[in-house]
Structures are given as C-alpha cells and as structure tokens.
C-alpha cells in the first residue's frame, strides 16, 4: 500500500498549502514583515500556533502573550512525538528533524496506516510534503496579500475562523462542554482583557476538573 501512502501524503501537503496562503496574507496584514511571517512557517511550523501568534499580534497584544498562546497550543505535538517515537525510531540528527516535522498532519497520516513500514513512510512523506507546500504558500500569501489588498475582501479572516473550527471539530466528541466553557470564557474576557489574554484564560479553564473525557 506504499503507493496509497505517497498519494495521501502529497494530497495532504497540497491541501495545507492552500491554507498556508491564508496564513501568509493574514500574517502580513497583522503588520509582520515578510521575513517574520516566513520565519514562523519555517521555524515554528505548526499551523494553529502560528495563527494564534499572528492573531494576538494583529489584535495589538503583547509579544509575551503571543508567545504563550503559541507555546500552549503546541503541547499536543509532544504527545504526537511520544506516539511517533517508537514508530519511526529516529536517531541523532534525524531526531531533531523528526521533531520539527511532528505536526497534526504527519501524525494523522502515520496513525492511519496499518503496516509499521507505511506508518514510518507516512510520517516522513507527509511532514516533508506539508513543509514544502506550507512554506511556499506562506511566501505567496505574504507577498500576494500585500499586493492584493485587504484580508477582509478575500474572506481570509473567515477562512481562518473556519480553519480553527475544522481543527476543533474532530476533538469535540466527549469534550463538548469543555469547548463551550473555553469559548464562553474567551467571549466574556474579550471586552475586559488585553489581546491574547482571553485565549490564555481558556487554557486555564482546561485545568479544572469538569466536562471532559473520563
């Protein structure tokens, strides 16, 4: 089934690439320079964290709040890495590279394969494909976004909202009340707290023992 792994990996790469154009344009619209937007995609390379970082900056939040939001959203990558470590068994420098490519998509494609060989291949291929498409798309979006005009005209802010909902959706089963609580806390905090703080308060809510999976 190696052929199927290759085609899945490439199509996931192309799909996230399309989404990467949104990220580039929104990043540029938030007032970040093209190199800063590119560094986010190259170095941070974790979509939700990148959008959170840029969102806080766009709303006028402090850098430390942007950094904390991005960092907290990255915690799930640790658990992907724990799952992937025995599967791909990276050593030395490969481990540093594998860590950088450990994201939602590479973990999901790997987890969907039955054979250990395909799980390993799925991780590397998807990680590399997403890295290439995501970064090329970010560059296009960051440069094109400046040329084309406002993020609003192209509905890219609507795309970003839909993208977050799409990431949340598969996690809602059994956690719907936690999601409602997180959303409510953010909604209540928006008028009263500096940009970025509502997200951090929502993270704190998750520490309370209620409404989650048992």
């Amino acid at each position: 089934m190696t052929k199927q792994v290759i085609s899945t990996s490439v199509s996931v790469g192309i799909a996230t690439g399309l989404y990467g154009i949104s990220f580039g344009a929104i990043g540029a619209a938030a007032g970040l320079s093209v190199p800063a937007v590119m560094l986010l995609s190259l170095l941070m390379f974790s979509g939700a964290s990148q959008f959170a970082f840029v969102g806080v900056i766009a709303a006028g939040g402090a850098p430390i709040t942007a950094i904390s939001s991005a960092w907290l959203l990255g915690v799930r990558n640790s658990f992907y890495a724990i799952r992937l470590s025995p599967v791909i068994g990276p050593r030395g420098l490969w481990r540093l590279l594998a860590a950088q490519l450990t994201i939602d998509e590479s973990n999901a494609v790997s987890a969907a394969q039955e054979q250990p060989k395909d799980q390993k291949l799925g991780f590397w291929l998807t990680g590399v494909a997403v890295f290439i498409f995501w970064n090329s798309a970010t560059l296009l979006g960051a440069i094109g976004g400046n040329l084309l005009g406002s993020v609003e005209t192209w509905g890219l802010d609507g795309a970003a909202a839909a993208a977050f909902l799409g990431l949340l959706w598969p996690r809602l089963r059994g956690s719907i009340w936690l999601a409602v609580a997180g959303a409510s806390v953010a909604l209540i905090a928006i008028p009263f707290t500096p940009a970025g703080v509502p997200v951090l308060l929502a993270a704190a809510i998750a520490l309370l023992p209620f409404g989650g999976k048992k």
Binding site: A15, T16, L18, S33, P35, A36, L39, L40, L43, M44, S49, F53, I57, A59, P63, I67, A70, W71, L72, L73, G74, V75, R76, N77, S78, F79, Y80, A81, L84, R95, A99, T153, G155, L156, D157, G158, A159, A161, A162, A163, F164, L165, G166, W169, S175, L178, A181, A183, V185, A186, I190, P191, A195, P198, L201, A202, A203, A206, L207, K213
Partner: protein, 99 residues
C-alpha cells in the same frame, strides 16, 4: 518582532523535541488527557476570537456566517480544505454584496 518569532518558535519546538526525549513511563493517561483538554479549550477560544472579536469588542459580521457554513460542512464530513475554502468564499461573498 523577529526575536519574538524566534523565541516562540523555540518554545513550540521544545514540545516537539520533548516528546522524543522523555521515556515512555512518564507519560501517564492523565497527563495525556490534560494536553488534549488544553488543546480543545484553546481551539474553542480561538474560534470565538477569530470569528467574533474586533479588538476589544464582540461583533457579528461576515465571519459569523463563515463559521455557520463551516459547521454545516463539517457535520456533513466535507474535507477540511473545502471547509476552509467555503469559509473564505462565504465572508468574501457577503462583503462583495455589501452585507
């Protein structure tokens, strides 16, 4: 801002690397569950922020329609990328109509 970007990137990368370095015996079910809870709560907050916040106020604009369309498509199990595209088209379309 470049230094903030680099610092945040290192912070995010540290999670990724940590997962490859810690021995499996330290990963308890409750820690795993806590990470999932933080993710759910954060994403829900980000949906609200990206969908309804304008600086320090809450507004209902074209983005709310994007979210409604996205939710309907997700319930129909439409692929992620089409959901994102539909979110863009909805907001862009409504604004083109002057709504």
């Amino acid at each position: 801002m470049i230094s903030g970007v680099i610092f945040a990137s290192i912070a995010v990368y540290s999670w990724k690397l940590l997962g490859y370095l810690i021995p499996a015996r330290y990963i308890t079910a409750s820690r795993r569950q806590l990470a999932e809870r933080v993710t759910v709560s954060l994403l829900a907050a980000l949906v609200v922020l990206q969908g309804f916040a304008l600086q320090n106020s809450i507004v209902l604009d074209a983005r709310a329609a994007s979210l409604a369309v996205a939710a309907a498509l997700l319930a129909l199990r439409v692929p992620y990328i089409l959901v994102v595209l539909a979110g863009a088209l909805t907001a862009a379309g409504l604004r083109a109509l002057g709504l």
